[in-house]
Structures are given as structure tokens and as C-alpha cells.
Amino acid sequence: MIEYIPFIAVVAMVFIGLYAVMFRRNLIKIVIGITIIESGVNLFLITLGYREGGVAPIYTGLPPGTTYPEQMVLPVPQALTLTSIVIGVAVLALMLSLVMHIYRKYGTLDVRKIRRLKE
């Protein structure tokens, strides 16, 4: 049971994020919702690569007595997560700067009022 908790957390985070995007009105909260989804997905990737009692996958400076590569955690999901975090920072910065500009033009952060483009 205990090993499923991270996956439950992942699903919960994705759903909380989707809820925030779909039903919150503040643009900043929508951005936060996207960030929560991203954290959930990153948690998912990290959980995939976890190995109980594993060490960091670096071939030098191993703790004495470890057998490699059996006791190392998987490096690939970590690389994927790092890439995803880097991309996430860029997307977050872009979204926040857009929100700043939108506030300047529309005078509101309510997503229901930011819809000059419809139909």
C-alpha cells in the first residue's frame, strides 16, 4: 500500500491542478494550477525511477560497499524531470509576464472578463 501513495498523490495533484484551471477565475490561480499539474507529473517521473535504498547514479564517489549499477536509482527519469523543470520555468515566466501585460490592458484578472476574442 505504502508504495502506491506517491501515485495517489500524482493523481490528486493533476486533478487539483485541473480543477484550479477549470473553475478558478483568477488568472494567477490558473497559472498556479498549471504549476501544480507540472509538479504532479514531475513527481510521477521521479517515483518511476525510485529504487529503495538506492544511491545517486554517479560512478565516482560511491559509498563504500555499494554494488553498481544494481543499487543506483534510475538516472533517466531524473534527467527527464530536470528537463521538464527547466521547461516549466520558461513556461511559468512567460505566463506570468503575459498575465502582467493582460492586467495592464484589461484592468482585471478575472478570466470571465478576459474574452474579447469569442465566437
Binding site: V41, L45, P77, A90, V91, I102, Y106, R116
Partner: protein, 521 residues
């Protein structure tokens, strides 16, 4: 090895490296001279085009080509980052580079009064890089990375006219939709990695079992990539983004959208190619279910795109809805192919769909360039405010008429050839679908006749008396597209035999794609 062989061997990497390097050289070069910057952008994209041409001649004659990054000797390719270029990938790359070169030629005059052009060109080249990367990569995680790069770059470009609130709004909507979509793609990639311990598309395709988790992955990838390609009812970001981005940018966003469509093709035909016919449920093979789901969504896209386009008064937004309808035609062809996999008309439908990719890029691109030319000379977006432009903008009018006939599928232009193949093959699957498609094509003609009347015909409006013809570089860009439209319309077999048939074969014959990587060990 001769020099040419070395160049061909390294061209998959160079095709990505050259636009990427020139993207980051752009801020430094634009400090020297504005004209030099424009020439540099055109020259670098031209150079990339030359490499794609070299690669295309090689791939079309001697089969797919694998390029493995960072390995001195090409052992154990499945754990390396690799590019796998086959006929469909090279076909997409040709479309992308064609759109990019024409967009840069067009921006020479169109953007010359704007600020921040160094960033504009940087983002433009990054967007081209990402689209090319999506088309060449043989690694599903790399596909996600390039998808995200394309999403960031195109979002920043949509918001390029930052003084307009609507542009910001469109960009925000686009990035929310793309970011969430890309995160779901990453989730799907994580599930695939957890099951099969691989990120390589060929390895995954060989190992795929169609378990319960694979079903989830299939749905996530189909829906997200469909959304990024503009499939209804998730198409709403598309008219917003297309309608508010500068038209030269829209051309490149079209190529990014088509790259997402290519992702759908890759997922269905290569990744799930092995299980399409083998996994059964209630006597239905998987391919019938996928095919009919795609057909239903495609018909919805065509109907919504056409009906909504009819009531638009903003020219660029109208073309955006038309683009939704055109994407619907492509998905209709693909859905027919998948639903009737194995039947002789399935191949014809796939050829029609692939040719329609090229035709959609040309027709919608040309329409956007015409809309941009009108915006450039009149500074008006709404069709209600313009009229009688045919008196002053003769060449633009001619190009618009070419685009109108092409996009509505009138003979002898290019839109007809692909739609002909689609209608004939869809008719054999279900006549009603074909009839709906033809009726919507007629409605498309009606929509653009309205535009022709409202913008170009009618009395000369006093407010637009001193309007001049668009500048030469814009006319050149439009002329290139119009020439291509007529060329494909008159010599369809030239393109179908050399480009489209190998591409369709590459998709249907996914075993070759897999053995190129797996068999290489």
C-alpha cells in the same frame, strides 16, 4: 567518403543545428545592421533548405536514415538520443522549410516598421528548429521537448504585437492550452517508460502490448496532439491565435500545428502500428475504433470550422476557422485510412490526406499573406471597414482569387487534387461522410466569395482612396505560394509520385521504421 556523402550523413543534425545557431547569433548580428539581419535569416534558412534537399534525395532513393547523437561508433542505438528520418518526416520538413523561407521573405517588408525585430527573428528560427525537430526525432521524449519549445516560441510570437490586448489574450489562451497538453504528453511518456523501459519510438513500437495503461497513453497522445493540431471541439485556441498573430508568424505556427498532426500520424501508424489490427474487443479491431473516433471528430471540425467562419467579420479570424475545417479534412482522410486499414482505398485516402497537408499549408498560408497585405496597407482588420481594394491592389486580388479557388477545392488548383482523392476514398467507406465533406467545401467557396466581394469588389471607399499596392517582397512571397498552388494543381502526379507515395508507404510500412533502429545493433 566524398564530401557529399559526409554532408548527407550529418545533415539530420545540421538541419537542426543551423537554425538553432543562427537563432542565437541573431541578437548579435542585428546590432550591426537591420538589412544584414534579414539577409542572414533568409540565407540561413536557405542553407537549411539545401540540407533538407540533400537529405530528401538520399532518403527517397535509399530508405530511412538514422543519426545517433554523441556516439563515436554507432553501437547500442536504443539508449541514445537519435534522429530517424524517413519519407514522411522529410515531407513534413520540406513543408516546414518552405513556409519558413516564405515567411521570412514576407517579413522583410511586413515587419520593417516594428521594434524588437532581433527577438522576432530569434523566436522565428527557434520555432522552425522545434518544428523540424518534432518531425525528425526518433525519441519520444525529444518529441516532447521540441513540442514545448514550439509552444513557448509560438506563444511569444503570438504576443508580438504587445500593444494590442487581444494579442496578449490569444497568447495566454494558447500557452495555457499548450502547457497543459504538453504536461499530459509528458505523463503519457512516463507511463510508456515505466512499462517498457525505453523512450525510443522504434523500441516502444516493437514492445507495445496494448495493455490497459497503453490505452490511456493512446488516448492522451491522440487528444493532446489533436488539440495542438486544431481538432474540434478543442479548436478554440486556433482562431484566437491565428487571428491575432502577425501573419508572417502565423505561417510558421501553421508548420508547428502540422508537426503536431504529424505526431498523430506517428502515434497511430508507427507507435501503435503493431497492435492496430491484432487487438480485438467485441469483434472490433482497434483500428476501426480509432478510425471512427477520428472520423467523427473530423466531421465535427469541418462543420464547426465552416459554419463559424461564415459569420466572422475579422478577416484573419475567418481564415483561422477555415484552417480548422482544413484540419478536419486531413483527419477525415486519416480516419478513413485507419478505419479501413488494408482496403485498397485506405492507401488512396492516406495519400490524399498527406497531399492535403501540403495543400493546406500553401492555401491557408497564401490566405494569411493576403490578409496581412490588406492589414499592412489599410491597418484595418474587419472586413466591414474595407471594400473596393481590387482597384488599387491588382496583384493581391489575383493572388486572393487563386487562394480562394484553391482552398475551396475548385479545379484545376491544388486544393482539388487532394480533396478529390479524399472524397473518392471516403465515399467508399461511407457515402454520407463524403457528401458532408463536399457540401462543406461548397460552403468554403461561399465564405471566400463573401470576402472577395466585401474586400475587393464594390465601390471605392473614400477612406481607402490613397491605398497602395503591397511592397515587393510581400508580393514575391504571395507569388511563390500562388505559383506552387497552380503547379500542384496542374502536375499532381509529379508531387504524388515523388513525395506523397513514399510518405504514405513509410507510414503504412512501419516495420521498416522499427528494423532501421532495432536491426542496426
Amino acid at each position: 567518403m566524398t564530401l557529399e556523402e559526409i554532408l548527407i550523413q550529418h545533415s539530420p543534425a545540421l538541419v537542426i543545428a543551423i537554425p538553432l545557431l543562427s537563432a542565437f547569433l541573431m541578437p548579435l548580428i542585428s546590432r550591426i545592421n537591420a538589412k544584414l539581419r534579414n539577409v542572414f535569416a533568409i540565407a540561413m534558412l536557405g542553407l537549411t533548405g539545401c540540407f533538407i534537399w540533400l537529405l530528401a534525395t538520399d532518403v527517397l532513393t535509399s530508405g530511412p536514415r538514422v543519426y545517433i547523437f554523441g556516439a563515436k561508433n554507432l553501437t547500442i542505438p536504443v539508449v541514445r538520443i537519435l534522429f530517424e528520418v524517413d519519407s514522411i518526416g522529410i515531407f513534413m520538413a520540406i513543408i516546414t522549410i518552405m513556409l519558413a523561407i516564405i515567411a521570412v521573405i514576407y517579413s522583410w517588408s511586413f515587419m520593417n516598421e516594428q521594434d524588437g525585430l532581433d527577438k522576432y527573428y530569434t523566436l522565428l528560427l527557434l520555432l522552425v528548429t522545434s518544428a523540424l525537430g518534432m518531425e525528425f526525432t526518433g525519441d519520444i521524449f525529444n518529441f516532447f521537448v521540441f513540442l514545448e519549445i514550439s509552444c513557448i516560441a509560438s506563444c511569444a510570437l503570438i504576443a508580438f504585437w504587445v500593444t494590442e490586448g487581444e494579442a496578449l489574450e490569444a497568447a495566454f489562451k494558447y500557452i495555457v492550452v499548450s502547457a497543459i497538453g504538453a504536461l499530459f504528453v509528458l505523463f503519457a511518456i512516463g507511463v510508456l517508460y515505466a512499462q517498457y523501459d525505453a523512450l525510443n519510438i522504434a523500441t516502444l513500437a516493437q514492445a507495445l502490448q496494448y495493455t490497459f495503461l497503453d490505452k490511456i497513453v493512446l488516448i492522451l497522445l491522440l487528444v493532446v496532439l489533436g488539440m495542438k493540431a486544431g481538432l474540434a471541439p478543442m479548436h478554440m485556441w486556433l482562431p484566437d491565435a491565428y487571428g491575432r498573430a502577425p501573419p508572417s508568424v502565423t505561417l510558421i505556427i501553421i508548420s508547428a500545428t502540422l508537426a503536431s498532426f504529424y505526431g498523430v500520424l506517428r502515434v497511430i501508424f508507427t507507435l501503435y502500428g503493431n497492435v492496430l489490427t491484432t487487438s480485438m474487443r467485441f469483434d472490433f479491431p482497434l483500428h476501426v475504433i480509432i478510425g471512427w473516433v477520428l472520423i467523427v471528430l473530423a466531421i465535427v471540425s469541418i462543420l464547426i470550422g465552416v459554419i463559424m467562419a461564415l459569420i466572422q467579420s475579422d478577416f484573419m479570424r475567418l481564415i483561422g476557422y477555415t484552417a480548422v475545417a482544413e484540419v478536419g479534412y486531413m483527419f477525415l482522410a486519416i480516419g478513413t485510412t485507419v478505419a479501413a486499414l488494408g482496403a485498397p482505398y485506405a492507401t488512396v485516402a492516406l495519400q490524399g490526406g498527406i497531399l492535403h497537408l501540403l495543400n493546406d499549408a500553401i492555401d491557408i498560408g497564401l490566405l494569411f499573406l493576403v490578409a496581412g497585405a490588406i492589414y499592412y496597407v489599410t491597418k484595418k482588420r474587419s472586413l466591414d471597414d474595407i471594400g473596393g481594394l481590387a482597384r488599387t491592389m491588382k496583384y493581391t486580388t489575383v493572388f486572393f482569387i487563386v487562394a480562394l479557388l484553391a482552398v475551396a477545392g475548385m479545379p484545376p488548383l491544388n486544393g482539388f487534387t487532394s480533396k478529390f482523392l479524399i472524397y473518392e476514398s471516403v465515399y467508399q467507406l461511407n457515402p454520407i461522410l463524403s457528401i458532408v465533406a463536399i457540401l462543406c467545401s461548397i460552403l468554403l467557396l461561399a465564405i471566400f466569395i463573401k470576402v472577395l466581394y466585401a474586400a475587393f469588389l464594390g465601390p471605392e471607399l473614400p477612406a481607402l482612396k490613397d491605398v497602395k499596392e503591397a511592397p515587393k517582397s510581400m508580393l514575391l512571397a504571395m507569388g511563390l505560394f500562388a505559383g506552387l498552388a497552380i503547379l500542384i494543381g496542374l502536375f499532381p502526379n509529379l508531387f504524388i509520385d515523388t513525395l506523397v507515395k513514399p510518405a504514405a508507404d513509410a507510414l503504412l510500412n512501419h516495420a521498416q521504421y522499427i528494423t532501421m533502429v532495432i536491426g542496426g545493433i
